[in-house]
Symmetry: C2
Subunit: 225 residues, 2 copies
DNA sequence: TGTACATCAGTGAACGCGCGTTCACTGATGTAC
DNA sequence: TGTACATCAGTGAACGCGCGTTCACTGATGTAC
């Protein structure tokens, strides 16, 4: 995954100060700082993602996001209709990125069975590494049509990986989508329990990744024949 | 100042009116109605549970709960330290009831394998029938120590059912708790995806219960040997 | 090339609202004598 | 048994706060001539 510049959360230096990230580093369209931010909608999405990750959907406020991006509370309304629209934008990004991760994981290497295992790992890694996205995608109140489509897209990658890995016929007539759904649910369950601190942990206790990978393995093995 | 009889909330019938639920129906401890509610903490928990189910943790307000219970906004503070304490009480109840459901499901009948399957069904049924409890248990911000203990209790019922059904040794040396965790995560995943409307549905599409029961089955079968 | 002007993307103060919570109070209940 | 009194469990008004959002505005930018 590309290291995209972390900008603009929590302690944004005043515009034009020496530490100001708006001084023309990489992802900033304009090298000049000033009255206009230049990349505000991007920065807001990034800030929202961070706040969502940190405080959850309830702890996220538009004003905080604006402050994190270094602008006044009214500025976001130039780019997003309201708070829900901003969260929606985070969710959209999340789904896009999620699908990309899955697609990458599925296409790397040559062995389909390995590819499928990597899919599960990618799922967990995404939930763990991008809690902001994950929260916006699954936890937000406003679940729109876009999300369903995007979710369906990600899901189809999973099912495809499954059939490629094991063959569409190898589940004894069972619809591979059913197994896909089960894998999806298991992944989601592990991810959310882990995020909520509801999974036991400590020495000798399996990690979330182990629980999932061995679970997916057992699930698929048990479903075949 | 005597004119104090007016409670002033929207739809609660005046004290003593024919429709007043405080007229001594069943669960009301006192047959007499009056200034004192008589069973307020109970009523508040019940109201909170309903609101949590209806609107989620974000949509739940203490004032609404008070109104639903037919008392003034200050009254809940006689029984609960603050809003979090009320939600915590709902969560506690939820865990108690949850464990009871699981225990019942596990102990009915004679065949351990059947018993184990019923455990999964009971899990889903609980999440579906008691969304208020489920929300408080897993979704609430304030996850206390009590919850962990109660959750551990419920979990141990699951693991016990598993070992009874299949024998502690039959998982090829794998810790039955690992399989228990996977079953738990799968159940939780199916339940939360279903609650969020994230599971496809329609004619010919498996229900949440089918997804889970067949998934648990595959999981256990795949984990053995 | 310079200048006038339209448009864009910000500002900062203010709004209305509804939340959780506190307050001094009062009506009802239980108890000691 | 009756009565005085302490305690309990409510009331209703008010508070401070921080939210989402709107407003009239202004500085910066892009463009036509």
């Amino acid at each position: 995954m590309k290291g995209h510049m972390k900008h603009g959360q929590a302690f944004v230096p005043p515009v034009g100060s020496p530490g100001d990230p708006r001084s023309g580093k990489g992802s900033w369209v304009r090298g000049k700082r000033g009255y206009h931010h230049g990349n505000l909608s991007e920065a807001l999405i990034e800030a929202a993602k961070g706040l969502l990750a940190e405080k959850g959907p309830a702890g996220f406020t538009l004003k905080d996001a604006a402050k994190a991006a270094g602008v006044s509370p009214a500025a976001p309304y130039r780019h997003f209709k309201d708070r829900a629209a901003l969260i929606g934008a985070v969710s959209d990004r999340g789904y896009a990125q999620f699908s990309e991760w899955l697609r990458e994981a599925a296409s790397a290497g040559t062995d389909p069975a390995d590819a499928f295992n990597r899919l599960g790992e990618a799922y967990l890694a995404f939930a763990a590494d991008e809690p902001g996205y994950y929260t916006a995608m699954f936890d937000a109140e406003g679940v729109g049509k876009t999300d369903h489509d995007a979710g369906a897209g990600a899901f189809s990658i999973l099912v495809e990986g499954l059939t490629k890995a094991y063959g569409a016929e190898s589940f004894g007539g069972a619809d591979p989508r059913l197994i896909g759904l089960q894998v999806w649910a298991l992944s989601h369950g592990v991810a959310t329990l882990a995020a909520a601190g509801r999974l036991p942990y400590g020495p000798g206790v399996p990690t979330a990744a182990e629980i999932l990978s061995r679970g997916v393995d057992a699930l698929v093995r048990g479903a075949r024949r």
